[in-house]
Amino acid sequence: MILTIFKKDLKLFFADRKGVLLTFLMPILLITLFAFAFGGIGGGSSKAEPIKLLVSDLDNSSDSKSVIASLQALRELTLIPKEVIEATNLVHKGKNVGVLILKKGFQDSISAGNNLPMELKYDAAREIEMGMLQSVLMQSLMSTVGQKSIKAKMNTYFDTNFSGMPQEMKEKIFNNMDAIKGGMNTSAENNMGLKMTSIVKESTKIGNLGLIQAVAGTAIMMLLFSIAAIGGGLLDEKESGTLKRLFYSPLKPTDILFGKMGAALVLAILQLVVMFVFSWLVFGLPIFKDFTSLVLMILATAFAVSSFGIFLVAIAKTRQQLQGLSTIVILTMSAIGGSMIPLFVMPAIMQKIAVVSVNYWGIQGFYDIFWRSLPLIEILPKMGILVAIGLVMTLISVLLFKRNVLKLMHN
């Protein structure tokens, strides 16, 4: 019975040429547009919340500690001490923007005036935050260890070339140096030797973050729109009287809903497949890199999104209501979830809010596959959340539908 309804609903969908065109052509256009728009991502800035930087102090010396303390004092940063391995892992998963590692021999290198053994491993997907982080780090490190290191270097130089130079004179030179410190920053920076390592970027070598954002972001937003439209067919049937006629027959009212959901699910999958294949053919998105994860992510996303669409239909009473409601809800969710503007350029507070939207989990999941190259096991929790969203929405829809069945027929 569900199957009969399901086949009918699919057929109804494909009978509407304009709708079909909109469902498949529109996302392709948008993906193309966004792919070009995000192609040279960068620029723009966002302040407000401090950046959470992980830090691993392997030297554990008084100098390394004082560096950490001075960084900690900065308004722009919040430091979180972590073990190197765990920290790297967190950055890899996209939890934190980067980890600053102060390696063994940090203090000795300062006294010796050598390049400092420190490294910043970062997530290149968060370019904007990185830009900020880098400048903050440089300024701060310069004023603490930079000066010290240069003085140490000069001390050695004076000792070898001008042996017997009185300590008093050296002090005077160093004090003058402090007074013109501003002018020395640039030249000294090169000696700092902060090694920058992009964790994520190097391990994937895809390099087209813009494309992934374009595909994942667009896909989920467009999916929501087309599902709301397909589900809206239920309201059309109410208006045209065919819904009432369905109730004359011996089928269960929920069969009507499940049939519709099935059709919505299949179309969502179809739409995602078309979008990914298009991105593969035209933009070279490596869809076969981790095919299993991609397939599972597509299924989970399609399920979450189609039940969310049906949920919108279940709470709307008329086509017009659905139109208004779905436009507002979908656009809002897409905006906060990162479908339109990539999440990583948004302020931290927005990134936190994002988790309430379906879009967020879908987009992050696709990021995990294509950008962070995480193994399936690491992406499973995000899929789980998507499936959970789907189940909850389905449940609510069924309850609402059952309660409104009579109203559906007679008002």
């Binding site: 019975m1 009969t4 009918k8 057929k11 109804l12 009978a15 509407d16 045209s240 009287g241 065919t242 009432k244 006629r245 369905l246 109730f247 004359y248 027959s249 011996p250 089928l251 009579l406 027929m409 007679h410």
Partner: protein, 315 residues
């Protein structure tokens, strides 16, 4: 045949249904025999569609009982649904599908095996005269053709009972006749039919028994003759003469042995029009009375409805 042996296909007793403050159906009882065409006649808002919805299980009654072939619809709704075919008042079809695709879909909801369904669809399309257009989309059909498919969609599971809710609304006379023929054919095949309308001619042509409804109540029910008796509407002939004298009038009255109301040159004779009219005219001729005009006052449903409710059936 003893009338008490005749099987009651539908029994409705003390049925009531309200929407907020409107008593759409107000304590109604009737029964319909197997093989009968039963007419529900009433003006807009009388409660006809509400009764159909209640009997087809998609509305729940506030009070009362409905038995379909002795099954209570509240307890055995699935059995009842299999017995019933409903032709809704609105055309309820998928515009974007062809006639055949619509029928296949509606038929498969009743789990009719595909092969049998195909054969049935063919037969029904031939019956309603649309076999040639079967692959055209419904949206390309005329109003009358859609109405016929609307009927066909209710027949695919071979129901024993057919509810038809104003199946000729907005239909041209030609299509209407075609629909009447279809209904008569179906009835000959033994299907019990409940037919709602506010056209008295339709009920007069199709229905053996009739319930006249107004404002949620059945005002009277029975065959047309029975209704006529209940309503006290008498058939009559009104004859206008060119000239009639007192003497001639008295003569006529004694010859016809019928009570005559007279005003000026007009007389009104209450009689059985079919039986008595020719006799009256021949007596007038013999008496050399020159007739100027004859009007028949038939005891039709229009008159009966007016007499029972004090209202016209339609504005």
């Amino acid at each position: 045949m003893n009338r008490y042996n005749i099987k009651q296909m539908i029994q409705v007793s003390n049925l009531s249904k309200s929407f907020d403050t409107i008593h759409a159906v107000n304590n109604i009882s009737f029964s319909i025999r197997k093989g009968e065409v039963f007419g529900l006649l009433g003006p807009n808002g009388a409660g006809k569609s509400t009764i159909i919805n209640l009997m087809s299980t998609i509305l729940k009654s506030d009070e009362g009982e409905i038995l379909i072939n002795e099954n209570d619809i509240k307890q055995n709704s699935t059995i009842c649904k299999q017995l019933i075919g409903v032709v809704p008042q609105e055309i309820s079809l998928y515009d974007e599908f062809s006639a055949v695709d619509n029928l296949i879909f509606w038929g498969s909801l009743y789990k009719v095996p595909a092969k049998i369904l195909k054969q049935r669809i063919k037969n029904i399309l031939k019956l309603i005269g649309l076999y040639d257009r079967k692959d055209d989309l419904i949206k390309t059909y005329s109003g009358g053709m859609k109405r016929r498919i609307n009927i066909a969609a209710a027949l695919l599971h071979n129901p024993e009972i057919l509810f038809m809710d104003e199946p000729t609304v907005g239909v041209d006379p030609q299509s209407r006749n075609k629909i009447f023929e279809i209904i008569e054919t179906l009835n000959q095949q033994g299907i019990t039919i409940v037919y709602t309308t506010h056209y008295m001619e339709e009920v007069e042509r199709l229905c053996k028994r009739i319930a006249i409804m107004d404002a949620g109540k059945i005002v009277a029910q029975g065959t047309q003759t029975e209704l006529q008796k209940q309503s006290n509407v008498k058939e009559a002939v009104q004859i206008t003469f060119q000239l009639i004298s007192e003497v001639q009038l008295e003569q006529l009255q004694s010859q016809l042995q019928i009570k005559i109301n007279q005003s000026e040159q007009k007389i009104i004779i209450e009689c059985d029009v079919n039986k008595d009219l020719s006799n009256i005219i021949s007596i007038c001729n013999k008496s050399n009375l020159r007739i100027k005009d004859i009007k028949l006052k038939k005891a039709n449903l229009e008159a009966i409805f007016l007499s029972l409710t004090g209202k016209q059936l339609r504005d």
